[in-house]
Symmetry: C2
Subunit: 480 residues, 2 copies
């Protein structure tokens, strides 16, 4: 039987079992978080002790709800979960999201037994089971957030930048903290997330089954995965191959590379981390991109989200800057990341030299000096550098502190981003003002604050294109 | 003749040569930036065309200023600098800060000649010369900012957190952009800067002469250097040895490691980058710490600034977390950075187990679960983990989004930080709210957002302690 992902992730009706008016506890916070977003389906609190919870009529049991329930969210102590799942199954509930902890991750026979029991119950009733020991999920298109994560607690917050029509990023994470942490860090950079799904112990459905479903659904173009283990190698191979064929990169943080990390995974979600070398080779074989930490994941997501259909054709980077020191530093870092920073061709240099004062240089890094930025604008410099046949991508170094510097050339920036066949990236050496960050994303530029993050993202994109071409044969890098 | 650093960096009277009312140009902006801070000395605009500039009486020449001038700031076209320096010398000006570009960095004989001329003039008059082609400096204690950097443009901004009484960080950078960029990034993390000094072409005084002076002055405890070249190996050795003996770490970004970076340095400040291997060995010999990028420099500055007198005695880290996934991930990253994450001893685990629910674990990473954080608080968990004889430092994983989570245990946090002989670090998986960031710094904890940055800072601190002990002989790690 295949899982009912529609009921799990896009339900029309949701029962919140254990809903409470007490906002200090998870059972109260989960309902509050859900009510803070404009979900258009129905939400039914289920409570034994209250007739009304947070302004909604509450039901004594799932069976008492007046319509068929697609999804039941269970936030009750572990020892009550099995019986409640039985009741859900009997009432025809199609999917269950178990947020409760106290199962296989305890490392005890009792915990393992409890987990086996709930899996059996779900199976018997044909219910799709997510968790236990998860933190819930976000479905941004449905404005549905069955989770107690404080990251989506602010009511009326915008879950996805409305201007983005493609390049959506799905997070699937065994760790709720890290999954929602990725969302929290990506949002101010205008990364459009489709989903954040915390899978917890993965007692029934696992990460790559979800990826496979999301590929079918077609609303996600980039995948960020926090993996403690691959539970089912076949499922991994299937999802990874399909994603690669579709040009939808999978970016993975594999936990448990070290003994201490593996020990943590075992007690976190009952995962046996396995040999890291075996994982690495499986990742390489399928073009899966490994990220080193949470920042690098967000950097990769931001880059692929905007430039997935415009991957660099090679490793040659053109760098433009008003800070000569910044240009040299970034060149060193690009080369350290496996990229090259070649001299530009004579005709591009001649064009640049018309704009750059004598104390700057058109070599590459192109030190345009602050004077040329003020006179010609970032957009013109980007356009000129991107025109060089010697390079495959451009990094423009900016100071994104002051939004006014970019507002005045906003239209030119949009035009350059739209017409350049090469991907263009920005690195800001000052901390970006949130308005600048938003403006530049809207103009079509991924904006980085990390030098290494920027360089590694470009290197990963160039590598991904090469791997796709090699694995799939023929030119597939830019025919997405 | 030794340089007059007091006149250069702590002048009582400053002439701004080329001051203008036009705030769109550097000559206008520099004066405006200076007037935006509470400098207690006198500022004299020098202008040929205005009697008054930005509300101040202007003088037609330096000679017309009614008192001896300590420092002249020159922001006039390169071709006029030599003549102006002659006038400054004749008028008894003690130091000159030349912000103008168009000297050796142009790579032209004319530029080189012009630079040689101004060096000769300064020498003849006994004037200390900083620059040319610099971006000026910040002296936070004097609230003096002779620079056009937008980073200190906001009037009445606080240049240094007033609660910090030690651990001040001096930035000396050939690149103004990068130097002021470090300040911009460190300030929201409450890093107390003493100086940011942009040295430009270093025609006369160079980085390590300045470091040597700052060591004499005693107001700086950590040095962040952006180096394109070491102009004078003797000066480097002297300053680096003195800093090491004093336990004042020097953190360096060496530019020009790659061909492209070296090419950029040559055209940026006329620096010949030299063989990177030779630099590396010189750095290692003197305990100078190399940083990989701008973020890592700020991470190291934040860590050393607070924990310079409490360096980890070894590489064993205890990790506390409410996110099991975050703990595993950070453990992997710590081990990747050369640290270890050993199991805690039985008696510490017994104490922890009294607080942690069954679905958490006291092993290390200590997955305390959100429940234990709510009940016992971060401070109690930190205290317990830090008490283990198996570890030398602690990283507590937090979500620093909501300041209220920390406000309630603020006093306990202060107590733990104050009494722990081991350094404690925080990593936030969500983006910190600025108030939380400030609060936690004030409590005595360096707060990181980068996992790698946190791990690498701890590894660098442990290494620095070891190197000091080896190079200086005997126990010098904690007798600062």
């Amino acid at each position: 039987m295949t899982a009912n992902f529609a009921a799990l992730l896009s339900p029309r009706s949701v029962a919140v079992v254990g809903a409470s008016p007490d906002l200090r506890i998870f059972r109260g916070r989960t309902l509050k978080v859900m009510l803070g977003h404009r979900f258009e389906g129905r939400i039914y609190p289920v409570s034994r002790s209250h007739d009304e919870v947070q302004g909604l009529l509450a039901y004594p049991s799932v069976a008492a709800i007046p319509e068929p329930v697609d999804l039941a969210v269970l936030i009750i102590p572990a020892e009550y979960v099995a019986d409640e799942l039985e009741r859900c199954g009997a009432a025809g509930v199609k999917a269950a999201l178990v947020l409760s902890s106290g199962f296989a991750e305890t490392g005890t026979p009792a915990g393992n037994e409890l987990q086996a029991r709930i899996v059996a119950i779900a199976k018997r009733h044909g219910m799709t089971l997510c968790g236990p020991n998860g933190e819930g999920y976000i479905n941004t298109a449905a404005s549905l957030c069955p989770t107690f994560s404080p990251v989506v607690e602010r009511p009326t917050m915008q879950l996805v930048p409305p201007w983005r029509t493609s390049g959506h990023v799905a997070v699937v994470a065994q760790s709720g903290g890290m999954g929602f942490g990725l969302f929290d860090r990506g949002l101010p950079r205008e990364v459009p997330f489709s989903y954040v799904i915390s899978t917890g112990n993965e007692a029934a459905i696992e990460t790559f089954e979800i990826v496979d479903h999301l590929l079918d659904e077609g609303k996600s173009d980039v995948f960020l995965l926090f993996l403690e283990s691959i539970r089912n190698p076949k499922s991994f191979e299937r999802a990874a191959s399909r994603a690669l064929a579709a040009g939808k990169p999978i970016i993975v943080a594999k936990i448990g590379r070290s003994d201490a990390g593996a020990r943590a995974s075992l007690r976190h979600t009952g995962s046996v981390a396995g040999t890291y070398a075996a994982y690495q080779s499986a990742f390489r074989r399928h073009g899966v991109i490994e990220a080193n930490d949470i920042d690098e994941m967000v950097d990769l997501a931001a880059a692929f989200s905007l430039h997935r259909t415009r991957l660099p054709a090679g490793d040659r980077v053109g760098i433009g800057t008003a800070s000569g020191g910044g240009g040299g530093w970034l060149a060193d870092i690009c080369i350290g990341a496996g990229l090259t920073v070649p001299l530009l061709d004579a005709s591009t240099r001649a064009l640049l030299d018309q704009t750059i004062p004598s104390y700057g240089t058109s070599q590459n890094p192109v030190d345009a000096t602050a004077q040329a930025i003020v006179q010609a604008g970032y957009s013109e410099l980007i356009r000129l550098i991107a025109g060089s046949p010697e390079i495959d991508s451009v990094i423009m170094i900016v100071s994104a502190r002051i939004v006014a510097s970019f507002e005045k050339e906003q239209h030119a920036l949009v035009e350059v981003a739209r017409h350049s066949p090469k991907p263009i990236f920005l690195w800001s050496y000052t901390l970006p003002h949130p308005d600048t960050s938003a403006l530049l994303s809207r103009c079509g530029y991924p904006l980085f604050t990390s030098m290494q993050g920027c360089a590694r993202a470009i290197a990963a994109m160039a590598r991904y294109r090469t791997i796709r071409q090699r694995l799939l044969g023929g030119a597939t890098g830019d025919d997405l």
